[in-house]
Amino acid sequence: MTFTAVLSALAGGLLIGSAAGLLLILSGRIAGVSGMVARAVGIADNGPPWLQAVSFVIGLQGGALMVAVATGAPAVTITSSVPLLAGAGLLVGFGTRLGNGCTSGHGVCGLARLSPRSIAATVAFMSAGIVTVYLARHLIGVD
């Protein structure tokens, strides 16, 4: 990987972590995207105030749009298989609600405060992801 890629990864990570820290300091809450989305669309009754969840979800897209406008739309490679997209989406939605969090809530916020639940969750989804990619790419040959 190039030096620029390393720098932008670190800078992007610092921004993500600062965003999570800012929500904690301003509103006293965890910046968990799956929880925010579930709250914004009315699936979760508890969690952040509804207006905060909605503005967070809108802001998430606004921030990505700002970077895309400033630096040019990033290259994005994503499968065009409808069953794969639908199945993966269902699993991600169901799993993050059952497991109370995703990469942001457990990974960024939970690991930072050494929550045993978040450490266990992160190990579980990282391992499941690694096994899935291994099976799909190297054994079954789906890409």
Binding site: G28, L90, L91, G93, R97
Partner: protein
């Protein structure tokens, strides 16, 4: 305003970070999960970069009586690792590994206008709804004790 302002500001920073780091591209994420192939360490750098300010903020708020724009801190205190947590996180990991999208980059990526992102997010919300549906049904089956 005290809900909208932090939500919007934090969302903007978060989304910008996801786009800047390259995590908005599922191929990069799959490259990180592909330890048996051409491994791409970017995600580890992003997570490492994110953990530093996140951890510092937890140390910082320890000295605060209350958040700046809210009445109290709502930080999960549950420390019990139960099967529900592990099963849910593993199911999420399988979906993540199939396409390379988790909720943050999926939502942020909607602005790029790809139909694949929209289909994924629609299915993701469907999955969230299904989980709630089964949880509610299970809840009704368990006997309710008053008092």
């Amino acid at each position: 305003m005290r809900h909208i302002l932090p939500g919007l500001l934090v969302g903007l920073l978060f989304g910008a970070g996801l786009a800047l780091s390259g995590m908005i591209d599922p191929a990069r994420v799959l490259g990180f999960l592909d330890v048996g192939g051409a491994w791409d360490p970017t995600l580890a750098l992003v997570l490492g970069g994110a953990l530093l300010p996140s951890a510092l903020s937890y140390a910082f708020v320890r000295r605060m009586k209350r958040p700046v724009m809210a009445d109290e801190f709502c930080i999960p205190q549950n420390r019990i690792v139960e099967s529900r947590l592990l099963v849910g996180s593993s199911l999420f990991g399988v979906g993540w590994g199939l396409v390379g999208l988790c909720p943050g980059p999926a939502i942020a990526g909607l602005v790029l206008g790809k139909w694949q992102s929209w289909l994924f997010v629609a299915a993701m919300i469907g999955g969230m709804w299904l989980q709630r549906f089964f949880a509610d049904r299970g809840h009704r089956r368990t006997p309710q004790f008053a008092g």
